[in-house]
């Protein structure tokens, strides 16, 4: 690659650089003036906050307090307390500290009942740090905030079952 470049090519390259910037001068800028304009959120976006879901038919909470999400979280941000009554388990308290979440979606993948989901919206800012620590009441409210992301627990688990080959979502 150490060949000599002729003088004509050098002048041509200078003019070409000037031409490229001139061409871009007249094109539309790609800036999106946030927050007045917003880019469309793709279908599979998952980096909003979290929510605890309820069953659509019976109105009960989906979370059975199995503590699998607490076990799998790499950042240790979930704390669950279990209580059993009425024939199934419930989560007595569920605390999720959003400040340390690395958005890895392992908790969603592990959940057997689709209880915890990530939301398809932009993360909303808060005014105090304490508001980032979401307790169970806030998490249940978050379900109304945005729609759930594409990837829920059961969907991701179905993607992994080796028997059901060829089934794509």
């Amino acid at each position: 690659m150490a060949k000599k470049v002729s003088k004509i090519r050098l002048v041509e390259a200078i003019i070409f650089s000037l031409w490229i910037t001139l061409k871009n001068l007249f094109k539309r800028p790609v800036t999106v003036q946030y927050p007045i304009e917003r880019r469309p959120i793709p279908e599979r976006w998952r980096a909003g906050t979290f929510a605890l879901t309820t069953d659509k038919e019976t109105g009960e909470e989906n979370c059975i307090g199995c503590k699998l999400c607490e076990r799998i979280c790499p950042s240790d941000i979930i704390i669950v307390e279990l209580e059993k009554h009425s024939g199934r388990g419930w989560a007595k308290s569920f605390v999720l500290d959003l400040q340390a979440c690395i958005q890895c979606e392992l908790c969603v993948q592990v959940c057997p009942t689709d209880a915890i989901v990530m939301l398809r919206g932009m993360a909303t800012p808060v005014a105090r740090r304490e508001d980032f620590i979401l307790d169970k009441k806030k998490l249940m409210e978050n379900e109304e905030l945005f729609e759930a992301a594409w990837a829920t627990g059961i969907k991701l688990q179905k993607l992994h079952e080796p028997q059901k080959a060829g089934e794509k979502s």
Binding site: R9, R44, W45, L68, I72, L159, H160, K164, K168
Partner: protein
């Protein structure tokens, strides 16, 4: 105070100016401190200082389970996240003898090559910043490269849900599957990027200012590269065709045809040229993978429930290496029979590449020092781990 005294001693005894390109500097590509000894404008000696971004990842991984670790490793070399988690996942699959379905291998290749394009665009953009400064033509090149990188990241966002740390790789396969429009969008991206790569090449490669700044500057000979264990574009620019995708193919790379761009003399220009040609090669690999994509499941393990934690056999060791955009990124795992690894060691490419600066920097001007550091493309998350 100690640094101050040291500088005064150097100035008095040797008559050299001790300049500190400190951890906060616009062009050291991260937190990196270089103590330069200058005579006039020529660098006479350089003493590098690393460790400002050490996060203790290797020790941290002794306390986490195997399945929890791929998202953690994505933060190691933060410009090519899937390469790091791929290296880890390959090592653990060797350790526990897990088979990966073919469709998952192809999807891993697609995401790895897309991230390679994004990382090389960053390297070229910041290289323009180093050469041309943040007030001038370098910024123009930087902004163009990042505007194009946004398109690649948009593609990753549509596929996985987050732009960058995608957590696509898992032990046993991948997490997501494609959506129907994916192939069409990749083809559009390919046409757009190929035209742009041609534009960049004709804008830069015959530009007299660029040639004068990069030709015969920072030459790394073949012996020097082998001695320091350099890998990636640094060693391919010297002429040695070492690419792990060709010599030890992992994860379906053996089924694709691609060229390995090589340089001739190993200067800054050759490293830049290798990177920009690799962008075209990655595009061709992605389109080949999409054409030949087999049907099948995307993961071979049972769904992730912690009752089925991975427990590799006791005393087993495995090493998995990938070709990250910076070189050979390897993970060496030792297991002791429990669900947490006993010891993990990361072989980081930027660390070995960065060690070259103590050999190639002296004798050049200060302006060249910055260009050489930029062409080695270190990422300090990887150097310090």
């Amino acid at each position: 105070m100690e640094g101050y005294v040291e500088e005064r001693i150097i100035e008095r005894e040797f008559g050299e100016l001790a300049l500190n390109m400190g951890p906060q500097h616009p062009s050291t590509h991260g937190v990196f401190r270089m103590k330069l000894h200058l005579r006039g404008e020529t660098v006479v000696n350089v003493v590098p200082d690393i460790g400002y971004l050490h996060r203790g990842v290797e020790k941290l991984s002794e306390t986490l389970d195997y399945d929890m670790l791929p998202p953690v490793y994505e933060r190691d070399d933060y410009l090519c996240p899937t390469a790091n988690s791929l290296a880890f996942v390959l090592a653990v699959e060797k350790l526990a003898s897990i088979e990966v379905p073919r469709r998952a291998s192809y999807l891993r290749v697609i995401t790895a090559e897309l991230q390679r394009i994004a990382s090389h665009l960053v390297a070229i953009g910041t290289f323009g910043l180093d050469l041309g400064g943040s007030m001038g033509g370098g910024t123009t090149l930087f902004l163009y490269c990042f505007r194009d990188r946004e398109k690649v990241l948009d593609l990753m966002e549509s596929l996985t849900g987050t732009r960058f740390h995608t957590n696509m790789n898992q032990i046993g396969g991948v997490r997501y599957d494609l959506y129907p429009d994916f192939a069409k969008e990749v083809m559009e991206l390919k046409q757009y990027l190929e035209k742009l790569v041609d534009d960049y090449r004709s804008m830069l490669e015959t530009n007299p200012i660029f040639l004068e700044r990069t030709r015969n500057v920072g030459i790394v000979t073949q012996e020097l590269a082998k001695e320091f264990g350099a890998s990636g574009p640094v060693i391919r620019a010297t002429g040695i065709p070492y690419d792990i995708r060709r010599s030890k193919p992992y994860s379906a790379y053996g089924e694709f045809e691609f060229n390995i761009p090589l340089g001739t003399i190993g200067d800054v220009f050759d490293r830049y040229l290798v990177r920009i040609l690799e962008i075209s090669e990655s595009l061709s690999i992605v389109s080949q993978a999409l054409e030949g994509l087999p049907e099948g499941p995307v993961n071979s393990r049972k769904p992730l429930k912690s009752a089925l934690l991975l427990k590799p056999p006791k005393g087993a060791e495995a090493y998995g290496a990938v070709e990250s955009p910076r070189g050979e990124l390897g993970v060496f795992v030792v297991s002791d029979g429990t669900s947490k690894p006993y010891r993990l060691k990361l072989r980081s490419p930027s660390f070995s590449n960065l060690a070259l600066i103590s050999e190639i920097l002296p004798g050049n001007l200060v302006a060249d020092a910055v260009a050489i550091l930029g062409s080695l493309d270190p990422v300090f998350g990887d150097v310090d781990r």
